[in-house]
């Protein structure tokens, strides 16, 4: 048996889901005896059979990846419950094993996978999907790229209808449930006794369940962003969300504003005031990047920057 064949056989066994008792499956995926399969390439010793030695790696793999997903998706876990969350993660990783060198990306396909497998998140499918979107957005916002900011003192260039580039780390979400509040509440519960820890506090559990059970649909628009290296959730008006979304899509300012306010009867003066205040705030938060082609901007004092 050559190196590649050993590695393929071992990885296949290591990544096969555990039994309910957290033991290695007695059969391989293609129905062969796992005991015989292990004996073919792994030596036994005086204390452990080939099967048991391979099982150590099998268990380590699942404990590691499940623990990583549990850490990244505590909100989803709280919504579906600990047992269903583990089953969901196991099925997800079985279908979408890691293709990245870093565990950071382990949950990158989870939203898409859950959309195809709603049975794992019923009856709170929409709520669960929104939570996954938020939790993944938080990961992206935490360590996403940052570019030099457009400074608040800068005024727009000779370009009469400019494009704005948004910071790569800034995540924009249109959600059906107020999962930002829910996630913060879940985390508060965790820190006070912990739904994510092994020692679940009995008096916390009913509170969490009530909170999740009470969740009513309420469309929200959210920016997941960073200030001083910490991630924050910022609610946006629908028009503000659409404006930012259009800018991210590469549209010019006038098109983005028109799209954002389409169907509204806001007066032009009021619209200008609103948009100006948004841009001032977003600039202060550092959400806009300086132009890629260098100093195209003129500073507020009139000199070229």
């Amino acid at each position: 048996m050559n190196l590649l064949e050993i590695q393929r056989r071992m990885l296949e066994a290591v990544m096969q889901p555990l039994t309910e008792d957290e033991e290695m499956q007695p059969r391989t995926r293609d129905g062969k005896s796992m005991y015989e399969a292990a004996e073919e390439f792994i030596k036994p010793n005086d204390r452990l059979s080939s099967f048991e030695r391979l099982e150590i790696y099998n268990r380590q793999y699942w404990f590691r990846v499940l623990s990583a997903l549990e850490e990244d998706f505590r909100g989803l876990r709280a919504i579906v419950g600990a047992q269903r969350f583990e089953a969901l993660c196991q099925a997800y990783l079985n279908d979408c094993p890691s293709r990245s060198f870093t565990m950071r990306n382990l949950g990158s396909q989870l939203e898409r996978w859950l959309e195809k497998h709603p049975e794992y998140i019923r009856p709170r499918g929409a709520l669960a999907l929104d939570m996954v979107r938020l939790e993944w957005a938080e990961i992206e916002a935490f360590d996403g790229a940052v570019e030099p900011c457009l400074l608040p003192g800068d005024v727009l260039s000779r370009e009469p209808d400019p494009k704005f580039r948004l910071q790569p780390y800034l995540q924009l979400l249109a959600l059906r449930y107020p999962v930002d509040d829910l996630l913060l509440a879940i985390r508060k519960g965790n820190s006070e006794g912990g739904v994510a820890s092994n020692a679940i506090s009995e008096d916390r559990k009913p509170t969490r369940t009530r909170k999740i059970g009470r969740q009513k649909p309420e469309a929200i628009f959210l920016a997941v962003h960073r200030v001083d290296y910490s991630v924050y959730f910022k609610r946006l008006d629908g028009e503000a969300f659409r404006l930012l979304h259009c800018l991210r899509e590469g549209n010019r300012l006038s098109d983005a504003v028109a799209s954002a306010f389409e169907g509204t009867d806001i007066q032009e003066k009021k619209l200008l005031d609103v948009v100006q205040s948004w841009f001032q705030k977003w600039s202060e938060l550092g959400w806009f990047c300086r132009p890629e082609n260098g100093p195209q901007f003129i500073s507020s004092s009139g000199s070229h920057s």
Binding site: N2, I6, R47, L54, I56, Y57, F142
Partner: protein, 281 residues
């Protein structure tokens, strides 16, 4: 003065791993630490808090990069995205050498995120050494490979683990990060004398040493990095130091992490085994 061509940093002494629970203490108290080892993958990101913290650490301390996912023994060519990010980090930290494990962990682009043991065959020697050379040539920094703790052995193995390690580093012309705790763990799991391992390693290639704690189970030992170093491991460390001389040493403590002071105090126990530096006449 270098101890050998792979150990040019005998002044590094004893360091500890940079871990999140200690960030605040290190930045505020600025304790005297010879050097920190970082897990490269934790900082191979575009931006954000981890890099911000790292930059502050780099202003005051020496940092050496230790990787957990290069998988020199995996069948695929090195992942280009991985290499690019790692090189960017090397430029940021100016790590004097870089370490990763002599193991595999992925096949056909699927990752286990584990340090899986190599079959000790000549085929594996050739393959692994070639990959180490490729990575070193791309990163342009000295590389040392670490022996992993293991729980399984393969029928096809043609040599002992320490013979395999020696064959690989000779063929790759690279250094060794000798983890004496891993030697102890594997010796108990595979019934060999750990001193045979320490005595069998090419001493002139040892660039760094690791010490750590582990967990005992009924039928095997797991390398958990969540306990102090036990006496038998200190004895292996003492023998290793006798063979390799003053060598940068690092205590790993990755789970159930105690206070910074406790981790540092445990690491500094290594100094009792390290000879004083030679005084220039």
């Amino acid at each position: 003065m270098p101890a050998n061509s792979f150990n040019g940093f005998t002044d590094f002494g004893v360091g500890i791993g940079l871990r999140v629970p200690h960030y605040q203490h290190i930045l505020s108290e600025k304790p005297v630490v010879s050097w920190f080892e970082i897990i490269s993958e934790n900082y191979m990101i575009d931006s954000g808090r981890p890099l911000h913290i790292l930059d502050q650490i780099l202003e005051r301390y020496r940092v050496v990069q230790h990787g957990v996912s290069m998988y020199f023994g995996s069948p695929e060519a090195p992942n280009r995205e991985h290499l690019k990010r790692l090189k960017a980090l090397v430029k940021r930290t100016h790590t004097p050498w870089l370490t990763d494990h002599l193991c595999w962990g992925s096949v056909d682009g699927t990752y286990s995120h584990d340090l899986l043991p190599m079959p000790y065959t000549f085929e594996a020697v050739r393959h692994t050494a070639q990959k180490i050379r490729e990575v070193r040539d791309f990163l342009e920094v000295p590389i040392a490979v670490e022996n992993v703790s293991s729980y399984a052995e393969f029928h096809v193995s043609e040599m002992t683990e320490w013979e395999f390690l020696a064959e690989v580093v000779e063929a790759a012309d690279c250094g060794i990060l000798l983890d004496v705790n891993n030697i102890y763990v594997s010796s108990r799991n595979h019934n060999f004398n750990p001193l045979d391992y320490v005595n069998g390693v090419p001493a002139d290639r040892v660039a760094q040493l690791h010490i750590a704690g582990h967990s005992k189970f009924e039928k095997y030992i797991l390398d958990t990095h969540d306990h102090p170093v036990i006496d038998p491991v200190w004895q292996l460390y003492e023998r290793a130091i006798e063979r390799v001389g003053r060598t940068a040493t690092l205590l790993e403590w990755d789970d159930k992490i105690p206070t910074f002071e406790e981790v540092h105090r445990e690491a500094l126990k290594a100094n009792q085994f390290v000879p004083e530096p030679a005084v220039a006449s």
